[in-house]
């Protein structure tokens, strides 16, 4: 209080949370009670968000935790591999073929978390191939997994940690996960894109 606050002179103080914690918190705020949430691969942050939402305001939220098939896992501590055995400390475990079957079930998956090597202005995601010709990719990505089901989910929350023009492109080279395609007119279903810093558009 005695010392004036200044960028240069303020004592080096850690914020009481990490940026990942802040991101998880913001993702949690976007989740609603009663939803069924699919967290996909690379899902540590979405899983943290789902658990937080359950504890805060969404006790009836259910989340599917990766290809291992867990539902409402207690996984503790959080681990990076989405199919880790520790996820099976859960309320239920579905075999993967059924998990994929239920991704097509009308109205079942309310919210999905996605990302991509490229994300465009209409929320399309590319995890397949960078370059003008997918048959001769400049950069080959890992592949589609379940991303094409984005068209059937209630909404998709896209979160991207690295905010670079290489990722945020006007138009993806390959639509792995369909967003609004070439504009909202193309795609009547409501979707939501939430950036890592919490800005929604």
């Amino acid at each position: 209080m005695n010392q004036p606050l200044s960028f240069f002179t303020a004592p080096k103080k850690e914020p009481p949370f990490s940026s990942n914690e802040l991101l998880a918190y913001n993702l949690a705020l976007a989740l609603r009670d009663g939803e069924v949430v699919l967290t996909g691969a690379n899902n540590a942050l979405p899983v943290a968000a789902c658990r937080l939402a359950q504890l805060l305001h969404a006790p009836n939220l259910s989340f599917l935790g990766g290809g291992g098939g867990s539902v409402n896992s207690l996984v503790e501590p959080l681990v990076f591999p989405s199919c880790d055995y520790s996820y099976l400390a859960a309320e239920a475990v579905l075999p993967l073929p059924e998990l994929i079957m239920l991704q097509g079930r009308p109205g079942f998956i309310n919210t999905f978390f996605a990302g991509g090597m490229q994300v465009d202005q209409f929320g399309n995601c590319n995890l397949s191939s960078i370059g003008p010709d997918w048959q001769q990719p400049l950069l080959r990505g890992p592949g589609a997994a379940s991303l094409p089901f984005m068209s059937r989910f209630g909404r998709t929350i896209i979160y991207v940690s690295a905010h670079t023009p290489r990722i945020f492109v006007p138009k993806v080279d390959f639509i792995t996960g369909p967003g609004f395609l070439h504009g909202a007119v193309d795609f009547a279903r409501a979707q939501q894109v939430l950036l890592a810093d919490g800005v929604e558009y």
Binding site: V36, P59, N72, L74, L88, A89, A90, A92, G104, P106
Partner: protein, 302 residues
């Protein structure tokens, strides 16, 4: 942001579950259980007491009294089934009488129509195909609105198809569930899990409720997550006269009696009166069972 609230408790009595969760008439109802096993009879009897009319009844590949009793009560307009009978105990009296009299519309099905139809509904697939050879049976010719042909785009040859079967409500049984609807199968799953995945809404009848916290160490044995279950009805011995795997056997003398006396319309009316309409509780029902066929209802040998 919504207010903090407790997680929804889905426990209901049979009466509440049927009244709150099954529309009347119910466009498409699926009822679980296979042969004499795992039929949710408390829910079935409650459907009859509440006189819920069923536009289309979908069964497992082999149903018995859970379908026959609904037909006996005059509640079923159409049935999609591959088998209604009592296996070694005889034919299904009400089903047989209604089909022969033309008062029940039968969609002749085989097991794959039911299984692939339910899978297609669960998966959001427009239709499913059958393996070549099944067209040699007359079954598909008897239900041409269900079995249809399209072209295999890989070979150009015709392929026989079945449509998605999407129940409005599925009534199934499993041995245990927690109060949120996570459901545990302690024996065969038959098509019961599949019905729940296909249906818009599922009510699960269980032998006993378990604590949610007990599931975390046995999650691979939890067959249905809460998100697929709308209501949980706890009713010990509720499958009687059918069995509950691991909990009790079917009541063979009672079922024999049903098959025999149900052979006439009067006998069936008397059965419905004594075992469905008159008992005002499951305890009263079981008392009548114990009185009428004593010592006939036993635990399994395993």
């Amino acid at each position: 942001m919504e207010e903090k609230q407790a997680r929804t408790n889905k426990l209901r009595t049979a009466e509440e579950a049927i009244r709150e969760m099954v529309p009347n008439p119910c466009p498409v109802l699926a009822v679980g259980g296979m042969h004499q096993q795992n039929a949710p009879m408390s829910l079935v009897r409650e459907l009859i007491r509440q006189r819920v009319r069923i536009g289309r009844l979908i069964t497992s590949p082999s149903a018995s009294i859970q379908a026959d009793l609904l037909i006996a009560a005059g509640l079923v307009e159409e049935i999609v089934t591959s088998y209604v009978g009592f296996e070694y105990l005889g034919l299904a009296p009400a089903f047989r009488r209604a089909v022969e009299a033309g008062t029940l519309r039968l969609v002749e099905a085989d097991a794959p129509l039911l299984v692939y139809g339910l899978q297609a509904a669960a998966a959001g697939q427009p239709f499913a195909t059958l393996p070549p050879g099944l067209e040699l049976s007359d079954v598909h010719r008897a239900a041409p609105a269900f079995y249809k042909w399209t072209t295999d785009p890989y070979t150009g040859v015709p392929a026989l198809c079945v449509p998605p079967l999407r129940p409005t409500v599925a009534l199934i049984h499993c041995q245990q569930a927690d109060e949120f609807g996570n459901a545990i199968f302690r024996g065969s799953v038959f098509t019961d899990r599949l019905m729940a995945m296909a249906a818009e809404r599922t009510i699960v009848q269980v032998e006993n409720v378990v604590r949610a916290s007990s599931l975390y160490s046995m999650a691979t044995q939890v067959g249905l997550p809460a998100a697929l279950v709308a209501g949980v009805v706890e009713q010990a011995f509720g499958n009687h006269p059918c069995a509950s795997h691991r909990y009790y056997n079917h009541d063979e003398p009672h079922l024999k009696d049903y098959v025999q006396k149900g052979g006439t319309a009067e006998g069936m009316a008397a059965y419905l009166q004594r075992y469905v309409y008159e008992p005002d509780s499951h305890d009263e029902y079981m008392l009548r069972v114990r009185t009428d066929t004593p010592d006939s209802f036993t635990s399994p040998s395993l």
